[in-house]
């Protein structure tokens, strides 16, 4: 079962949330960030090249121009491969674990998997981010030493930064699946 909804992030940009329910014990949420805009790309390139041309008129060395082109290309490739995240996916599988995948604009994917045994809970937290107070979804990990403690907080959807309405949807689905984990422990 698959459906798609449109939300907005904390800056007002448009996000698309795709939900896939594979089975009662496996769900996937895919948040697509806004793509790289042609306007900002053109602006940055023009600035760099104008600066290089200014330097060229000062020192009369054509190496400056080639260097500027080189830097622009490398910078763009580096940005697409290391910085610009296109999609963030959360896959939650009952009794196996939670997996977060970030897909970069160049196609690279970086995945982290947390086993269900280490997950204490999934909660929505508040944070102060620059001049705003934002909400973010995070996974609380169990502390091996102290049974009621939290050893680490892993934030989710860090580059998409959706607003509270989107987070609530994801949170409710996750809690339905995590409820299976908690039920037998309370009954035993």
């Amino acid at each position: 079962m698959e459906d798609e909804q449109s939300f907005s992030d904390i800056c007002g940009g448009r996000l698309a949330l795709q939900r896939r329910y594979y089975s009662p014990s496996c769900r996937e949420f895919c948040l697509s960030c806004p793509r790289i805009s042609l306007r900002s790309l053109t602006a940055v390139t023009c600035t760099v090249w104008l600066a290089a041309y200014g330097l060229f008129t000062l020192c009369e060395n054509s190496m400056v121009l080639s260097a500027a082109i080189f830097i622009t290309l490398l910078g763009l490739l580096g940005y697409l491969h290391f910085v610009k995240i296109d999609q963030e996916t959360l896959l939650i599988i009952d009794s196996l674990g939670i997996q977060m995948t970030s897909s970069y604009a160049s196609g690279k994917e970086s995945t982290t998997f947390i086993e269900m045994g280490k997950v204490k809970d999934v909660v929505i937290n508040e944070a102060i981010y620059m001049q705003k107070v934002i909400y973010y979804l995070c996974i609380l990990l169990k502390d091996p030493v102290e049974p009621h403690g939290v050893s680490q907080v892993v934030p989710l959807f860090q580059s998409a930064k959706p607003r509270l309405d989107c987070l609530i949807e994801v949170y409710k689905s996750c809690q339905e699946i995590l409820a299976h984990q908690k039920a037998p422990s309370t009954s035993l």
Partner: protein, 662 residues
């Protein structure tokens, strides 16, 4: 259900229409003697509402029908399938094989269920027959995986024969299929490593938790994967190696030859180190020890003795010089590494093996780069050019220093110096430079020969060549070091004198016993002399301070250049190239974790996932497998460095191993 099938099998009838079946006569007595005990099936503890996960190897997905063999992990409600046993088989032989594997690998291998791959028309009889097998091999829960011809979606059932305590839960469980690549999981190594299971226990009580248990199970069941289809064994298995055990002739030859070669090289290295230790230490003590020793333990003892110079070196000036040269440090480091690599002891764990491999690759790369450097140096007679350029450069440096001193003796930067002290210090340093230039000119005929021989040492490695360069720089700038020491000592004395006389001026005294400043009543003549000396020292301070400043800056410049060279040497020494290469070419060997992908899914059929290995990132590879370097790092923080500079204490940029900490 169980009783009916048991009865049918016992009668020896079985499904006559089935193409393959086990031979009944031997099976019969076994059946009757081992019925599944009611209500007490082994390994039946499980979390009731956990989804059952079946880890299935991708290599068995196209195998013929048969029995599933693997390990059941009750805490996570997961079944790790290791192999498929094909028809025809005799149950006793299967059980014997499993018992053998269990004993060899300490993994609780058992028959987990049946696997049905229907290639032709569906056969109901096969279905009944497979269910009947559940009576022969009792396991709780009993898995039944089935795959239709031409269909991607499998059907899975897990049944419990034990009557459930809660009547609401049915005897069947939800099953989730997780495919894994057996070869990759077998060869991979998880970081951080899961705790090793207790080998003393009879059965593997795995302290590996979660998915590490799957990796652990597959890695330890190598005994199961040794037989292939071409063996004449009684049981036919399907696993990742069943189509033939792969091996490479070169690898086998290398393994066979490694033993004698390692022994030979270890003896050679011990002789080399014992010989160099003997040459340094003229007192025959260590020679005696080295050549008397017949067994390797004593040779190793002398080797370790060589490593601790403070114990072995008897001749003081030579040992002092030896410990200051970074070339010797580097050679010693390399000798240590080579000894470790070629030691005949096998590596105890994978980390040690990686370390040995990294050291070997590092040494080989070093030698290769050194040979490249050597060929470049000898190509256009660059050594001759270098030798010709060296003397003029040294002369030029000395001349520049002379100009600097003339400038200091005048009115440097408009400051007014104390004439007499200025002249004394300036003449003293000028005379030093004069001696130095004379010494350089004395050496000049031999420079080319020395450089040529030193250039040959580049075949020992690039790091050795760089260390020699660093040492040559240190030797050529020895006069700057001397000037720095003189200036620093003078300044230090002045500062201490000033601070002590300042206390006298205020009527206080430093109490050595209590380590604090106490008041003290001085006599008049003491106060008079003290004040006089204080005034003299204060007025001479700018001159001394200026000389100290200039020579300290020069010294710091030289130290920076040497530091950069050492940084480069450190980089070549400690970079784990073998691990990086492994991460590049065989990323599944270094695993940070796993990742899952959901395969095509349709409603009604169980969920299918593909488990892949998530490789370690490059930065974590470098961080985990970084080789220990010489340890010649500056031990000061910036604050203590500034404090030492202000008070005129001597700075030793790097501590060599074996120096006393003060």
């Amino acid at each position: 259900m169980g009783l009916v099938s048991r009865g049918t099998a016992a009668a020896g009838l079985g499904p006559a229409r089935a193409a393959v079946r086990p031979r009944p006569p031997d099976a019969v007595p076994n059946l009757i003697s081992t019925p599944p005990p009611e209500g007490a099936a082994p390994g039946s503890s499980r979390v009731p509402s956990m989804v059952l996960k079946a880890f299935f190897p991708t290599c068995c997905a196209s195998a013929d029908s048969g029995l599933l063999v693997g390990r059941w992990v009750p805490e996570q409600s997961s079944a790790v399938v290791l192999a498929v046993v094909h028809f025809p088989f005799i149950p006793i032989q299967v059980k014997e094989l499993l018992a053998q594997v269990q004993q060899a690998s300490r993994v609780g291998v058992a028959v987990l269920g049946t696997w049905c791959h229907r290639r032709q028309e569906p056969e109901e009889s096969l279905g009944h027959f497979l269910e009947g097998l559940g009576a022969i091999f009792s396991h709780e829960p009993w898995l039944q995986l089935c795959r239709e011809r031409g269909s991607k979606f499998w059907s899975c059932k897990a049944t419990h024969r034990q009557v459930p305590t809660c009547p609401a839960t049915s005897g069947e469980d939800q099953v989730m299929l997780v495919f894994y690549d057996q070869r990759k999981v077998l060869l991979s190594q998880l970081h951080p490593p899961a705790a090793l299971p207790d080998r003393q226990a009879g059965d593997a009580t795995a302290s590996a938790v979660g998915l590490a248990a799957v990796f652990d199970t597959v890695a330890r069941s190598e005994a199961l994967f040794r037989s292939d289809w071409f063996d004449e064994g009684p049981v036919r298995l399907s696993h990742w190696q069943s189509e033939g055990v792969e091996a490479s002739i070169l690898v086998e030859l290398a393994k066979w030859a490694a033993g004698p070669i390692c022994l030979l090289l270890t003896c050679l290295l011990s002789l080399v180190s014992a010989a160099s230790a003997c040459r340094i230490c003229p007192s025959g003590g260590c020679c005696f020890a080295a050549f008397q020793a017949q067994d390797r333990a004593r040779l190793h003892g002398s080797l370790h003795g060589f490593m601790r110079p403070t114990r072995m070196f008897k001749l003081w000036p030579l040992s002092f010089v030896w410990s200051k040269l970074s070339t010797c440090e580097q050679l010693r480091h390399r000798l240590e590494q080579l000894t470790l690599v070629f030691s005949t002891q096998k590596a105890k764990n994978p980390t040690q093996l990686m370390r040995k491999a990294n050291m070997l690759v590092s040494v080989l790369l070093d030698v290769a780069l050194g040979l490249v450097l050597l060929s470049w140096l000898h190509r256009k007679d660059r050594i001759g050019q270098l030798a010709d350029a060296l003397i003029p450069v040294a002369d030029h440096v000395a001349e520049e220093l002379q100009h600097l001193l003339q400038w200091l003796m005048g009115a440097p930067a408009g400051l007014k110096m104390n004439r007499a002290l200025d002249q004394v210090l300036g003449r003293f340093f000028l005379y030093h430079i004069h001696l130095w230039i004379g010494y350089i000119h004395l050496m000049s005929p031999f420079i080319e020969c020395i450089l040529w021989h030193v250039g040959l040492s580049a075949c020992l490695g690039l790091t050795v060549a760089l260390s020699i360069l660093s040492d040559i720089i240190a030797l050529l700038t020895f006069h700057i070091y001397c000037f720095y020491v003189y200036g620093a000592r003078l300044y230090c004395l002045k500062i201490y004198g000033l601070s002590s006389l300042w206390r006298l001026f205020r009527g206080k005294k430093w109490n050595v016993l209590r380590q604090r400043v106490d008041s003290c009543s001085y006599d008049l003549d003491q106060l008079f002399i003290g004040t006089l000396l204080f005034t003299i020292l204060v007025f001479l301070l700018p001159t001394t301070a200026l000389y100290y400043l200039v020579f300290t800056l020069l010294r710091l410049l030289v130290v920076t250049v040497q530091g950069l060279i050492h940084l480069l040497v450190d980089l070549v020494n400690s970079l784990p190239l073998y691990s990086l290469g492994l991460r590049l070419c065989r990323p599944y060997r270094l695993a940070a974790g796993v990742k899952f992908r959901v395969l095509e899914h349709e409603a009604g059929s169980p969920l299918r996932l593909l488990m892949q290995i998530n490789p370690l990132s490059y930065s974590r590879v470098v961080h985990t497998y970084r080789l220990p370097s010489c340890g010649c790092h500056p031990k000061h923080s910036w604050g203590s460095l500034c404090r030492k500079l202000f008070f005129g204490e001597l700075i030793y940029p790097w501590r060599q191993r074996g120096d006393k900490q003060d």
